[in-house]
Amino acid sequence: MTHLQLRNPISKRDIANELGNVVEGDKILGAKSLHHLTTLSEYFTEPVGPGHDSIQLVVQVPGGECQPFAGSRSYPILTPSTLSATAGYKRSFSQILESAPQPTKRRKLEKLPGSTTIYKTEPAVDQPSARLPSIGAGFTDLTTYFNLIAADKTPYIEMLDAREKYQYLFLRPSRFGKSVFLQTLASYYDKRLEANFDQIFGGLYIGKHRTEAASKYLVLCFDFSRIEVLYDFDKMERSFHSYVHGVLSRFLTVNSKFLVEFDKDHELFETNAGKSLENVVVRNLLWPSRTPAKLDVI
């Protein structure tokens, strides 16, 4: 389970009021399912209870296993104006990018007239109006939500895969869709999703122009915006090592059927990302009868 805790100084009533919603009474209405493309603010339309100095959201991947955020991370105190965007953003990366997407029900895609890239997912009975992706929407969202307008950038995968190997850096200002494209690549290459390839990519360009690299690799993704930059370097260092440890631990878990037995307790180190990464991406994968790197004893 992913627990996203919003702490005081703002009360739940203040949040709800700030978000323009009506607060009535002191009842707690209980758990509610969250939807990928719904901003957090939309969940504050109901009464919230008094006397609590935090709100806890439990986010579960639709159709997938519950997984925690990588490592430990304390969230800054959020203000109402940053609430929905921050929460949606972090869910997206934690659940989709780092852990690699889980197979979910994909919708039929319809290319829109006059365009080779823009498509709309199949409509739903209770969702007659077309929708647009919200901030933080991931690649999975773009093909699993009803009546959603999005762009198919997968022709670029074919161009990238003209090279069997590559090391590319793509620079763009914020909010140009860099993360979604990375998630698209991750899903495309992910060996775990091979059985679901047609379901995921069948309606997109690359589904009909599949390259040799499709579903061929293990996928390991990091989001460095998750690294806390702090004046206290020791704390920042712990945060970094812990983050990498969490990502690697989850990578080993979800890819366990492809890997040789791995002793997480002795080959992943919460205080040494380099050694852990070396054990995972070099020693473990190359040498089934490996010699894991050890922590130096001082």
């Binding site: 823009i118 077309a130 670029y156 793509f170 460095f224 690294i227």
Partner: protein, 280 residues
């Protein structure tokens, strides 16, 4: 299991987010220096080794500035793909894409069905189009829209809310880079870029220390603003004339759209007010 079956795709999103935060937030180099050393040793050097051993075969990094790449030796082998014209549209929307999105969204929204598509497109172009990230190209390049702001703009119309992207204008990531730029350069940037006459001299390799020390070289400030999307390559006046002028013609920087004009104008006003306060 043979090792040939176990190769990796490694993705690193926002590879320079912590580095930029350290450079643009903290006054001393110490935090950046230690952070860069840590990430180099414990991450990028290990990935480089795994590439050399043919374990990682595809490696994709995203970011905003080239500075961190230039300061981290294991990243020197990466190719900056975003400057290549044929990959220009990989992130961002073209005018044709936005037109299709707007038409479909408006026809489906009861509130927007009576709106004139040409008027809506005019607003979208004014506020969010105009980004060109490639300096020169043998093939025509469409200017790009910021996708997220296209969506917010259309939703704003549907909800009868303001379409002015105030959130972007006040966004910390933009304001941090503006804070790092010598404010005395803003009047010139504002005046020249507004008329697309700011000569382009983009530094594609930026030493990390230069990110917050742009006063000695205005072109460094222009480069930072380019990478953050505040400035962009201006549309060539000769683009529709003969091809012979393309290769050697000068390129200029301009402000891509009204959103970025607002940002520059706001900062220009702040610098004027600061000057007045100093006089008083």
């Amino acid at each position: 299991m043979g090792c040939s079956e176990l190769q990796l795709f490694v993705g690193v999103d926002e590879y320079d987010a912590p580095a930029n935060e350290a450079l643009l937030t903290f006054p001393s180099d110490e935090i950046y220096r230690r952070l860069a050393g840590m990430v180099k040793t414990h991450f990028f050097a290990v990935i480089k080794d795994s590439i050399a051993q043919n374990v990682v075969v595809k490696y994709w990094l995203t970011g905003v500035l080239p500075a961190f790449r230039d300061g981290i030796s294991p990243l020197a082998a990466t190719t900056v793909l975003s400057r290549q014209p044929r990959f220009h549209g990989l992130c961002g929307f073209t005018d044709a894409e936005v037109q299709t999105i707007a038409q479909t969204y408006m026809s489906s929204s009861p509130k927007l069905q009576s709106y004139d598509i040409d008027a809506v497109m005019h607003g979208l172009r004014q506020w969010h189009n105009g980004h060109r990230f490639c300096e020169k190209s043998d093939v025509p390049i469409d200017s790009l829209y910021n996708p997220q702001y296209v969506f917010l703009h259309l939703e704003g119309l549907s909800d009868s809310k303001s379409i002015e992207p105030g959130e972007e204008i006040e966004a910390p990531h933009i304001n941090k880079v503006l804070d790092a730029i010598d404010e005395s350069t803003f009047p010139e940037i504002f005046l020249l870029a507004a008329s697309s006459k700011l000569e382009a001299n983009i530094h594609y390799h930026i030493p990390p220390a230069a990110v917050r020390n742009t006063s000695s070289m205005p072109s460094l400030a222009h480069s930072l603003l380019y990478f953050f999307g505040v400035l962009t390559f201006a549309e060539s006046a000769e683009s529709d004339s003969s091809a012979e002028s393309d290769s050697d013609s000068e390129t200029f920087l301009g402000v891509p759209n009204k959103t970025m004009q607002q940002i520059v104008r706001f900062r220009h006003c702040i610098s004027i007010l600061t000057g007045l306060m100093d006089i008083l």
